[in-house]
Amino acid sequence: MAEAGTADTHGADAHDAAHGHHAQSFLSKYIFSTDHKMIAMQYMFTGIVMALIGGYMSYAFRMQLAFPGESVPGYGVVSQGEYNSLVTNHGTIMIFWVAMPMLIAAFGNYLIPLMIGADDMVFPRINRLSYQIFLISAIILVVSFFVPGGGFGGAWTAYPPLSASAEYNLTPLGATFWLVAVALEFVAFLLGGINFITTLMNARAPGMKMHDIPMVLWMIVIASILFMASVGPLIAGAVMLFMDQVVGTGYFDPDRGGDPILWQHLFWFFGHPEVYVVLLPAMGIVAEIICTFARKKLFNYKLILYTAFATGIISFFVWAHHQFVAGIDPRMANVFTITTLIISVPIAEMLFLYIATLYGGSIRLTTPMLWALSFIAEFLIGGITGIFLGASGSDIYFHDTYFVLAHFHYTFFPIAIIGFFAGITYWFPKMFGRMMDEKLGKIHFWGTIIAFNFIFIPLFILGAAGQHRRIYNFQNFPDLAGMQDLRVIATSALLVMLVFQVIFLFNFAYSLFKGKPAGKNPWKANTLEWTADSPPPHGNWPELPNCYRGPYEYSVPGREDDYWPQDVPPDTAPAE
């Protein structure tokens, strides 16, 4: 697919020559490229492949839950051990190999240089290294399924002692492969994050002040900062867990003075900021799209930026709400209930600001806009159901039930899937020079969104009825054996949703070759990437643009056009 993705870059070759490049071989152009756009494509297509794998896993285990013990078409009978490793790796893949590469790495790499008017990242070779490490980590994870003993099945949180000892988890190789893959993935994103932050701070077009930076870039950079600041403890934890698994140390083994709870702290100290690491880029994508299609300035840019920073900072103080009943000092639960509810304030405010942006607009319900609006609608449910879990008292009941599961799918699905679809349908014309089909796009949108709600609303109900997670057959529990109808509804809805993704893949492939040519700025948007050719050549612009104003100067009174691109010099008579 990567070849197809840049089929139109022949024009770029001539341009490259002008920059003193030689004609590139296939390998140096597609595989060992240092071009930020190519690296973004690599991340994106790897992410799509991993999403298909993760989706296939959810198909297998949801079928097992709806029709326990029966052979799943295209998979076979799901054994207990396989079930555990399917749910474990579904979670791991969707967060670390889908949400992160698609939202941060793909859009970050693609957009940062283009939106700040630079010809590439500041460290192109580090960028290439970042993807190569990421690819290796993905391969190791996929391989972990086929090693003797099977894939790791100790949940994506990998709590020791289960994860630390093959005697307990029975997957001696799977557990270690899983851990190594995750640790390498962190390394890849650390390298990528350094690049994002440095590039945004140092390579902006002349005239682009801090508050002229498009919101999506701020969000990606704040996310990168959060990731860098939170991942250290977990990498240390991963090394300790690796030593426990392989060398036989006892960091997490209580019999030898270790403490299994320590891992939980290290994991969630990273794990909670991680939610915002993927949330913020998705919020950023949504901001760009809403402004473009409402023809409106972002409602109070600075306040949105501050709420993003506030959320990021507070997210470092909430991790133990995952551990209320894990055996921490019960008094700590009070502290973390307070911090968790505090974080609801900036996030709620951010959502209000997005909704307020619609006020006074001229809203066009294009496919990207539908995705962006549905992000707000669906994420809102994810946000409010989090309050039940952040409040220690009610978490005693909801902890580790399907309520939690439905809650975080209402956050991560909007983030990873809706955020990606919003971004790809919006920037597809820029990436490939052609428009996606609107009609197919809308069919895909409605099919996906409606099915999504039918998957997870039944799971909220099951969670409220006390059904716990990661159980491969609820028929073993007399109180839960009923309500099978709800499980069948959820699984059927999942099948519908997966089928609708075929429409997207078809639309993507078809539009790549047969889509209407897009031109430079099909959406009449302001930000700098729309002033480059579609797709932009290596080096992005023959001459790098200047920046004269903020990114959201839509519908400025007294101007003929309802948009005012950032690179257009001010009118000769000072505008006022």
Partner: protein, 246 residues
């Protein structure tokens, strides 16, 4: 005073809690109703905000959809009269958060932080992938000859306050009784202490709520809540059986 405020607010939301959660899962312990009421309170508060946000969201999309010849307005969001649409809800959300925090902490304190006087103590030992229960027997003391050990079946008496000692032989497990609204991780090398007071006779599920390996999906047990007479009968039978087998 604080307790009075708590009881007052709980009283308002208890019927709704009984409906929201109680209609799925019996209210089986002294504190189950408290948790249900808290859930109801949170549901009402966040439901209010969600409805408000959805109303504004869909209204704005409808009201400001594209119309011929009508341009969007130029609004920065920094105008005072517009900004208050954000700052007032902001303040109101903080207020709601304060109430939720207060109620959550009161419930939490009662269930997890304090340890009321117990009538009896049971020991729960989890392992891959089963539950062992040690009941104190007729003398009501653990670690004596008449202790009754059971496997995947726990017997308790209605209306009695129990302390539990929760242990694990191998990995993390979690003792979860949905009808009691009780959940506690078991950690190898530690004894987790807590309490519960069953209020409704019957037979219910115990689930392991922490991933504990391949058999996690079958690590269930039953808790049998008995009336005092039934419990006494079970106890004499159990200890007699034990003596006989000796």
């Amino acid at each position: 005073m604080i307790q009075g405020i708590y009881d007052f607010i709980k009283g308002i939301f208890a019927p709704l809690g009984d409906y929201l959660i109680g209609s799925f899962v019996p209210v089986g312990s002294s504190f189950a109703g408290d948790i249900d009421a808290l859930i109801a309170l949170v549901a009402v508060f966040v439901g209010f905000w969600a409805l408000l946000a959805y109303a504004a969201f869909f209204f704005l999309i409808f009201r400001f959809r594209e119309r011929d010849g009508q341009r969007a307005q130029y609004v920065t969001g920094e105008e005072k009269d517009l900004k208050r649409w954000i700052t007032y809800p902001h303040a109101a959300i903080i207020l709601c958060d304060v109430v939720i925090v207060f109620m959550a902490i009161m419930v939490w304190y009662d269930i997890k932080q304090r340890l009321p006087e117990a009538d009896s103590t049971v020991r729960i030992v989890s392992q891959q992938w089963a539950w062992n229960f040690v009941h104190p027997g007729p003398d009501n003391e653990l670690d004596t000859e008449d202790d009754i050990n059971t496997f995947n079946e726990m017997h308790v008496q209605e209306g009695t306050t129990y302390h539990y000692e929760l242990l694990s032989k191998d990995v993390l497990h979690d003792f979860s009784v949905p009808v009691f609204r009780l959940k506690q991780d078991a950690i190898p090398g530690r004894v987790m202490k807590g309490w519960f007071k069953p209020t409704q006779a019957g037979e219910y599920d115990i689930q392991c709520a922490e991933m504990c390996g391949i058999g996690h999906g079958i690590m269930g047990a039953r808790i049998i809540v008995e009336t005092p007479e039934e419990h006494a009968a079970w106890m004499s039978q159990g200890s007699a059986g034990k003596l006989a087998s000796r």
